[in-house]
Symmetry: C2
Subunit: 325 residues, 2 copies
């Protein structure tokens, strides 16, 4: 059942992870479990302890996904000098702070020192590749590879080419993340927040409104979501769901009837909440009540176990997916 490396991963022997925070550690763990040597570049003096502790924390989830986790740290090194860190690697995955000027500096250094064949990807959730690449001599090489947190677990990677990103880079990124066992999706246009975070933001606005209005508590709203739309959207997205909700006429019938009613009656009635003091106090109090019994780490581990059970049931863990292939 333990998957071996995909053939397409053979050309990825070494990776540089720029920034060893939560996202960087998660990428590092996944890369290592897939047999890729990882060098971490991070200016913090205690980075080694932080990364090793973080790796230990995510190892159970990697193991439950069916990935090999013995001696993960054996393939791990640290290099505080960015130019040295990226020399000789096959992929650079950058997870620095979300500040444009800083990212531009980082990428100017990377493009001068990384090998010509290396895949150059930024995990940014908010800065378009076009903006970063303006400061680069080889803007065709930079691409956004935006994971959904945590990258070692959630399948989605949004690949967002900048205006000057080459087709070859897009193909390279897509092939790499797919070989890594992720579900990469190439966006056709740069847009702030990309897709998943925009959708998340749209629904969260209404969530905040409904709690602020006293229609439901946070816990009640979460229970409503897990027992209805969450379950639905884990097995089919919104369009497929509404296609099936349209009866034999499918989505066209849905749009003509329920869609137009939604546009006329529901969309204008959706809430526009703000994080004012009263709302924040309500949200914080209810969060303490609903989630305050365990630490965030315990709750996250519990969530990850449920998530992996779900992925396994749908044939989407690396080992079950290998059986499907």
């Amino acid at each position: 059942m333990t998957p071996t490396s995909e053939p397409a991963l053979d050309s990825y022997q070494r990776a540089a992870i720029i920034g060893g925070g939560v996202i960087g550690i998660s990428w590092a763990g996944l890369f290592l479990a897939r047999g890729i040597k990882v060098v971490i570049n991070d200016p913090r003096s205690d980075i080694k302890d932080l990364v090793l502790a973080g790796l230990e924390e995510i190892t159970p989830a990697l193991a439950e996904l069916g990935l090999p986790t013995e001696n993960l740290a054996a393939g791990l090194t640290f290099e505080a000098d960015l130019a040295k860190a990226v020399s000789g690697v096959d992929i650079v995955q950058e997870n620095g702070p979300e500040r444009l000027e800083l990212k531009r500096q980082i990428w100017q250094t990377i493009e001068r020192h990384a090998p010509a064949h290396a895949l150059l990807a930024t995990s940014t959730s908010s800065i378009p590749a076009t903006a970063i690449a303006k400061a680069m001599e080889q803007p065709e090489r930079l691409i956004v590879g935006h994971p959904f947190n945590p990258p070692h677990l959630v399948p989605l990677v949004e690949i967002v080419p900048g205006e000057k990103t080459s087709e070859a880079t897009v193909r390279q990124a897509k092939a790499f993340y797919a070989a890594l066992g992720k579900k990469p999706q190439v966006l056709r246009k740069e847009i702030p927040g990309f897709v998943a975070n925009r959708l998340q933001s749209a629904i969260f606005r209404e969530c905040v409104y409904l709690v602020a209005q006293g229609v439901v508590t946070e816990q009640e709203l979460d229970d409503i979501v897990t027992s209805s739309i969450g379950m639905r959207w884990a097995v089919g997205g919104p369009f497929r769901t509404f296609h099936l909700g349209g009866g034999p006429g499918g989505l066209p019938h849905f749009i003509e009837h329920l869609g137009r009613a939604m546009e006329a009656n529901m969309w204008p009635a959706l809430g526009n909440p703000t994080f004012d003091d009263t709302t924040v106090a309500t949200l914080v109090n209810q969060a303490n009540e609903a989630f305050g019994k365990g630490t965030v780490e315990e709750l996250a581990a519990e969530r990850d176990r449920a998530q992996i059970a779900l992925m396994r049931a749908l044939g989407e863990t690396p080992d079950t997916a290998a059986n499907h292939a």
Copy 2:
């Protein structure tokens, strides 16, 4: 593994299902599989054929849920006279057309002829109990029991009391749907669209916008959702997800940082699409391309199987849930 009836269901021997459409048939199938005799009231002359065909269609899903499905139709009768249909039943579940005047007439008849102990619930997705009950002599007895389609499969039932609904009715409804194996959630206020449909409507607005803008196709957007937020929200709702996304500081930390950034930058940037001719043409063409290969029935059966596999993995099918209890 086959669950026996919950003790709380013992007092529900007979149910009247008013309206034998898709929702009515689904309720009927679930009631019958739970050992409740069902009488269907529907004015259509071919209602018997329609209901029997519909029952046959959902039987595989009921069986996969671990419910007994032998001889389901043995407990089924039809009665075109509403007053007669509801006499002697323990619960009335009404699924008539979404027209206030019609529902008022129906409920005036029901309250006069249903036994005093019977639970009186409407499946309405859009009409508040308060509005229907204005025409009733016993408004304290009416409650919304709004399922998420299809009721035999998706766990959620939104229970929405009207202004005059009694506490006893709320308790009765909650106990009944829970005993039936559903996950009932009582809303604290009446609000148009209740909760699940408002959330669905909020995200769908952004989905339509992103497809209309050419950022992704319908299929690509669905793939993004299933591999990220859908998967997340099947195991924990939006608030729990963002609580865990806030790191050790939880939701309070999330709101202070990412939440405020969302309010400032993302919410104002969300789309306001309309179903104009160009948008509808795009949506219909992409739906044909993405979903046109199978019939809606085939795709729905496939979705239901995946859904049940997911529920089983999370211990939420009637048989696995019984093991947890």
